[in-house]
């Protein structure tokens, strides 16, 4: 109080005001807790009542279902015409769902933007049934079809893709781009899986485009290190186009390595490594 008086009349007044406010707040709080407690009790009683009701209802239903167990089938036959229509409607709904599903997964997802002046295309990528990154393209429709904004990483040669596919055909361009993106995310995912699943294999080198992959594998005899160089020259595929082995000491078992080469060319790298392990080519 003494402190307030030094600040003058206005200070004192504001102090009183805050005191009043806090006082009212406390009072209110007490009131409120009492109210809430009463409400809790009331709700508990209601809950018990509802439980009992539900129980009786369930028992009643059980009894009823045992009584007219096969009466339902007869009813269906009586109303056969009605049932046909219902079935057709169900089929129609199913087809509509399928169509929608196709739109979501098979087709490209296109949305109009900016008062129908633009399009926004969503490209989803997946690898082995797992959805990975989603990419978007925003296009201007007039005066001519043009990409105005996108979030595709710059190392995907978008411009050259636009040039190679004609301006008029949007679908081939999208197919091509989608293939490219799927291949890229596929390679990235493979690399991730290799790092996760194969602790004995060392990833020596890779790049942002995941187009070069250098792995250090070890041969069972003498734990000899061998460099395995995978080259993904065709960027629209997630499988390598070239495989090379390099070894410092001596030329490795020729036949065996040729076989390994074939495995690596045919299968995703993380799976190929599993096969090679089971064949005993590497540890």
């Amino acid at each position: 109080m003494e402190r307030a008086s030094t600040k003058g009349v206005l200070g004192h007044l504001s102090l009183l005001e805050t005191q009043m406010r806090s006082c009212r707040g406390k009072h209110q709080q007490l009131n409120r807790t009492e109210q809430l407690k009463a409400k809790v009790e009331a709700l508990c009683v209601q809950k018990e009542q509802l439980k009992v009701e539900l129980h009786t209802l369930q028992r009643l239903q059980k009894v009823r279902s045992t009584l007219d167990g096969n009466g339902a089938d007869d009813e269906m036959d009586d109303d056969s015409e009605n049932a046909d229509i219902l079935q057709l409607m169900a089929k129609c709904a199913r087809l509509k769902d399928l169509l929608h599903a196709h739109h979501l997964i098979g087709g490209y997802d296109v949305v109009k933007t900016r008062q129908d002046k633009g399009l926004c295309i969503t490209l989803t990528t997946a690898y082995e049934g797992i959805y990975l990154d989603t990419y978007h393209l925003e296009m201007d429709l007039s005066p001519k079809l043009r990409i105005s904004r996108h979030d595709i990483p710059p190392f995907i040669p978008l411009n050259s893709l636009v040039e190679t596919t004609t301006q008029t055909a949007l679908r081939p361009f999208l197919d091509f781009l989608s293939q490219h993106l799927n291949a890229f995310t596929g390679r990235k995912q493979q690399l991730k899986l290799v790092k996760e699943q194969h602790k004995s294999v060392e990833v020596m080198e890779s790049n942002v485009l995941c187009s070069v992959l250098v792995l250090l594998v070890r041969v069972p005899e003498r734990k000899l290190p061998v460099l395995c160089i995978l080259d993904y020259t065709d960027h629209s595929r997630s499988l390598p186009t070239g495989v090379k082995f390099e070894c410092d000491d001596e030329p490795p078992n020729f036949e065996q390595w040729k076989k390994s080469c074939r495995i690596l060319l045919e299968r995703p790298v993380h799976k190929a490594l599993i096969t090679m392990k089971s064949l005993g080519c590497i540890v």
Partner: protein, 345 residues
């Protein structure tokens, strides 16, 4: 160790924060564990430097080894200087298959051909980035390790980030880069900033961009938070629309940290009330500069709070869309310079 080496070591030790010194030194690997144990890291930097100088003498380390230490430090703390982005264009057929060893050899070879006394150090960082440290000398003097240029490049990405490069040496570095990455040319990407990761994220589009899609975005879900039923926003709809537009223009979440955006205007002065200025033939030159600790987030806030009008003007949204923060704006006269960014309205 000679004098330049000592100088460099002193400077590097001075720059590394005291709490990081031990880890950085062990990372360096030129000082044995026993020697590291003998150093008391709680003493002053000056005493520490003396001790480390002795250890380096003992291990017969040279300037070359000290530059490694500097590189480790710069990789850990890249945001100390101004970084400039450059873009490589027109890749050769061989460009996609250039690998690290090839690049390393080629770069060193081409640069040493262009300049006699030059010291190059190349290191691959864990995130696939290639870090290059170039210490320049000239025809007669030895490389000056006190003023090195740092270059960061991701193979196959067409962007190069450079710091501490003088304009005299730019053509040399450019040529070496172009030849070793198998591109036809290199140009200024008109993007600069103090935060290297931000520049990289902006150009590689590694930040959360917003597009309008059919699916409800996290953006829409976020805005549906429950509030007191007694409080109602009258213009909530237009506010969410503004926010959506702002996020579409600049991105959502944490945005790359840019410090400035510069617009150089070279347009004719247009004002009907001011005849003397409007009638002048030559363009009215001025520079508009926006600065902020995080420019993109500031701009986004301006647009979403309604201070700046929406849809966002292309002049501002060009910063994230084109990935540059230096623009020259000229009048859009047919057949004028190709620098025209956008007609001034």
């Amino acid at each position: 160790m000679n004098d330049p080496g000592k100088c460099l070591l002193k400077r590097v030790i001075r720059r590394i924060p005291a709490n990081m010194l031990k880890t950085t030194l062990s990372h360096w690997g030129r000082v044995s564990d026993a020697q590291l144990q003998s150093v008391d890291f709680t003493t002053s930097k000056w005493a520490l430097t003396e001790k480390l100088l002795n250890i380096c003498e003992e291990n017969e380390l040279t300037v070359k080894h000290v530059t490694e230490l500097e590189m480790i430090h710069v990789i850990d703390y890249p945001n100390l200087g101004m970084w400039y982005a450059f873009q490589l264009f027109d890749p050769d057929d061989a460009a996609p298959s250039v690998d690290m060893t090839q690049f390393k050899e080629q770069f060193k070879f081409h640069l040493s051909k262009l300049m006699r006394n030059v010291s190059v150090k190349i290191k691959k960082h864990t995130d696939e980035a290639i870090w290059i440290r170039v210490a320049w000398g000239d025809g007669f003097s030895r490389p000056n390790h006190m003023k090195p240029t740092y270059v960061v490049h991701h193979l196959q990405s067409s962007y190069v980030f450079v710091t501490r490069l003088t304009s005299k040496l730019k053509p040399l570095l450019s040529q070496a880069l172009v030849l070793s990455t198998r591109y036809q040319g290199i140009k200024d990407a008109n993007l600069s900033g103090r935060n290297l990761a931000a520049l990289r994220n902006l150009l590689m589009r590694q930040y959360q961009q917003v597009f309008s899609t059919k699916f409800s975005t996290p953006l829409a879900e976020k805005s549906e938070n429950i509030s007191n039923p007694q409080i109602e926003r009258e213009q909530a709809e237009s506010a969410t629309k503004r926010h959506q537009m702002a996020c579409e223009a600049f991105g959502d979440g944490v945005l790359p940290q840019l410090q400035s955006a510069v617009y150089k205007l070279e347009t004719k002065f247009r004002d009907h009330n001011n005849k003397t200025m409007t009638d002048r033939e030559e363009p009215f030159k001025c520079i508009v500069k926006f600065t902020s600790t995080n420019l993109l987030e500031s701009l986004r806030h301006c647009a979403s709070s309604g201070i700046a009008s929406t849809p966002v003007t292309p002049l501002l949204s060009s910063v994230p869309v084109k990935g540059r923060n230096y623009f020259v704006i000229t009048d859009n006269v047919p057949g004028s310079s190709s620098q025209t960014n956008r007609p001034q309205k």
